[in-house]
């Protein structure tokens, strides 16, 4: 409270109006595409047209949502995405919690170099591994299967999850670990009894991050699982929007349904999301 009161802004009070005007215009800019999605998706077939795209619907209807869900493939995509995202986020977060623990508290010769190689891999574009990935998945019978997609998400989640957990464990003093070692605690005991119980906040952040990025993924989904019956919801949205015969209200409704889970999670757990944002960049 006192900090807020004494903080000098450095700007004369007149410019406060300009500042608020800037903030409001920026907010309108960010909300504009969502306004278009919502308004268009609530219109009926007859009302959707190019000249009145900014107008509010004359008659509210959910027929766009119903068609998108039932006939547009969004319903099955949504369910598929759920079965892809939940296991993949859980497995990759759990792996990250152990890997991060080792990178933070069991440093061995070369562990930092290995960690750097992990990070480097995290940044690389998927196109650099796409063809061998498809060949390998085909060879093991995982291509075009949900489990194959979960597997690929887990592999590509290793670096980021290890990074996030490593930063979290690094904030826990080494003395605590050393004391546990002297008390006879081993590798697994320290993990189960000391770190895991206090790692809940880190788990929440990593799970949220993985959930959002796997739910929103398109490229891995379209490569590994392009079969419309099994594909994740982002692929369904793209198929729906790419079809020339689909009315815009259905396309927009489909896009909104696909975006809903991550938006809801963001609004409900904004603070954790912010922490994930900051931990997701290497230096954060």
């Amino acid at each position: 409270m006192t900090q807020a009161q004494t903080k000098p802004t450095g700007f004369p009070p007149v410019s406060r109006i300009v500042i608020y005007a800037f903030l409001v215009i920026a907010a309108l800019w960010f909300l504009m595409p969502i306004y278009v999605l919502v308004v268009t998706s609530l219109k009926g077939f007859d009302e959707v047209s190019v000249p009145n795209m900014w107008q509010l619907p004359q008659r509210l209807t959910f027929e766009g949502f119903i068609s998108a869900w039932n006939d547009g493939g969004i319903g099955s995509g949504f369910v598929n995405s759920f079965w892809i995202t939940v296991p993949a986020s859980l497995i990759s977060s759990f792996m990250g919690s152990i890997n991060g623990y080792i990178f933070a508290k069991w440093r061995f010769k070369g562990s930092n170099a290995i960690f750097l190689l992990f990070l480097f891999g995290m940044f690389l574009p998927y196109q650099g591994v796409l063809i061998p990935m498809v060949q390998t998945l085909q060879a093991f019978g995982l291509y075009g299967k949900v489990i194959g997609l979960v597997f690929v998400h887990c592999i590509f989640g290793i670096p980021i999850c290890a990074l996030m957990f490593r930063s979290y464990y690094a904030s826990i003093p080494d003395e605590l670990i050393d004391a546990a070692k002297i008390d006879g605690c081993g590798f697994f005991n320290i993990y189960w009894r000391i770190l895991l119980p206090i790692a809940a906040p880190a788990f929440a952040v990593v799970l949220l991050w993985q959930f959002t990025s796997i739910w929103n993924d398109f490229i891995i989904g379209v490569i590994v699982l392009s079969n419309p019956r099994l594909s994740p919801v982002t692929v369904s949205v793209q198929n729906l929007a790419g079809s020339l015969y689909t009315k815009w209200n259905i396309q927009m409704a489909g896009a909104l349904i696909a975006a809903l889970p991550t938006i809801v999670v963001y609004l409900a757990l904004g603070k954790l999301f912010m922490r994930g944002l900051l931990a997701g960049s290497v230096k954060g």
Binding site: G10, F30, V36, W106, F123, V129, Q238, L277
Partner: protein, 306 residues
């Protein structure tokens, strides 16, 4: 003396225990190391190898042809347009994200009423997928509707644009949609950085008679240079990877005006089955990304060591 003997005898089994645990730690980490080694590094090597063989059909053909594919891709006009588009995309995306990300953060840092609401609105597009972003913006930037309609409505019809349908600069307009999604992230990074600058620094600057503008120019912006570097690397990587948003906004466009390396590579692989040629594009993407990521990781490493 007695004490020394005692601690030594206590410590020996303890030490042995730690060595055993260290081995266990390495053992537990091994599957992940193998996964990264195989699925990232050996696959990259394999991509480079495919780029040097003659596999440009459905049937694999591993006859070594040296740089033949590289020569044919590098002299291909679509590839050259992609490189030009990468430069345009990177410049447009970086500039918008860094400038607006910083501006929004600096303004939000001014004791704003309702800061939380503004922040929530600015960051939420980051929770939205690039596919949904593209679908929404394709509609908003339609030449016959959307923003053009609004411009007409307020008498600014002169500023109407073809947007992403522009025959040469379409890719720049795609970065508007991409920035809409990503700028909140960069803002969050800057905001955290600004909050980390101590009050004393600002106060000292004010006492020394620094104006607000020169305080930002000479003190705050240089102090945030690390974040700017991060922002440049992240947006640069976004430019190299650009795929989802291209697919959603309408593909490679007229005369490839909105094509990217990533999109081209995908089409060469899955539509044309020209595996060796597309491996060249993948390899080029790896090389360009390394130029960005290696310096970044080296500097991050130095920072943690300090």
């Amino acid at each position: 003396m007695d004490l020394a003997v005692k601690t030594a005898s206590v410590q020996r089994p303890h030490k042995r225990r730690i060595n055993r645990d260290m081995l266990l730690a390495i053992l537990v980490l091994t599957p992940s190391i193998l996964a990264v080694a195989i699925f990232i590094y050996s696959f990259i090597a394999w991509t480079f190898w495919i780029s040097a063989v003659n596999w440009n059909d459905v049937v694999p053909d591993f006859t070594f042809v040296g740089l033949k594919n590289w020569v044919s891709v590098l002299s291909n006009s679509r590839f050259q347009i992609d490189i030009r588009n990468l430069v345009l995309y990177a410049i447009g995306f970086m500039a918008q994200c860094v400038v607006f990300g910083f501006l929004l953060a600096a303004v939000l840092d001014q004791r704003i009423k309702g800061e939380g609401i503004f922040r929530t609105i600015y960051i939420f597009p980051f929770a939205v997928s690039a596919i949904v972003t593209g679908v929404a913006w394709r509609w908003v930037m339609r030449p016959d509707s959307g923003i053009n309609l609004l411009l007409d409505g307020v008498g600014l019809g002169a500023f109407k644009s073809l947007w992403y349908s522009h025959p040469t600069l379409g890719i720049l307009f795609v970065t508007i949609a991409a920035s809409w999604q990503f700028v909140g992230y960069i803002m969050a990074l800057y905001l955290a950085g600004l909050r980390g600058i101590s009050q004393e620094v600002r106060e000292a600057a004010m006492i020394d008679g620094c104006s607000a503008v020169s305080m930002y120019r000479h003190i705050i912006i240089p102090m945030l240079s690390g974040i700017t570097f991060t922002a440049i690397v992240l947006t640069g990587m976004g430019a190299i990877r650009a795929f989802d948003i291209i697919a959603a906004i309408g593909g490679s466009g007229q005369a490839f005006s909105t094509d990217t390396l990533a999109y081209n590579m995908f089409e060469q692989t899955f539509l044309a089955n020209r595996y060796s040629l597309s491996a060249v594009i993948g390899a080029v993407m790896i090389i360009i990304s390394s130029l960005l990521v290696v310096p970044y990781l080296i500097s991050a490493q130095k920072e943690t060591e300090r």
